[in-house]
């Protein structure tokens, strides 16, 4: 791998890394949303029979 090839690989890696980090953030957000929905359904159930 000549020097420039290493850089090419680095560039593609950076792009790939950004996408992966982005997906990770999205995943975190989804889990938070899911927990929130859980809380709300719990609240609603208590409200219904409360």
């Amino acid at each position: 791998m000549s020097v420039s090839e290493k850089y090419v690989a680095a560039a593609y890696l950076v792009v790939f890394a950004f996408v992966v980090v982005y997906l990770a953030i999205m995943a975190l957000k989804l889990t938070r949303l899911e927990r929130e929905v859980g809380e709300l359904t719990e609240l609603a159930r208590r409200r219904m029979n409360g």
Partner: protein, 218 residues
Amino acid sequence: MLAALAAGLLCAAIALIFFYAPVDADQGLSQKIFYFHVPIAFTAYACFGWGAWKALLVLWKRKPGADQESYVAIHQGVIFGALTLITGSIWAKISWGVWWTWSERQLVLFLVLFLFYCAYFMLRFSVEPGPQRENLCAVYALFGVVLIPVSFLAIRLAENFIHPTVFTSRGPQMATSQFATFCVALAAMIALAGTLYRVELLGKRLDARLRELRELLT
């Protein structure tokens, strides 16, 4: 569906770039970055344009969801802008041995736009959510899209007194095969941006709806 398309196009693009496109005569393998760097730049422009279009809808048609869409689009634009700057500086490192060069117009323009749109977020987070924030962000987004051609012209004018352009690529004349690869790569990038845009927008709408639900219940 869009996500599947994006995934497919991305794989096709990578395959084409590495196996099909001929190695460039003078720049050798480094020319491969070109297939990623420039499409990312065009995608960033597309995101800013889309953000400005949504901003126009906010001001003109008072569409309710438009402000959020404009925000997410510009957020995508800044992400792709950052990628453009990074891949651009890597390309500069390979081709000319320097991590940053003022002579590459595209790069300098992106630096200006990057500063500008970071200020967009500063503005957005310093104003209370509400009609005024939507108007301010929309107006600023429109200023941004007007700034793109103006600062492109400025950078070109600036070149002959900052230092004459020593080396800049005139955008290599592409053989048909290279051009085909380029188009696939561009389509892949735009599809990727579209997918991320939709995902983030969905996330934000879900947030808003949950907040409403929480209000109703408490």
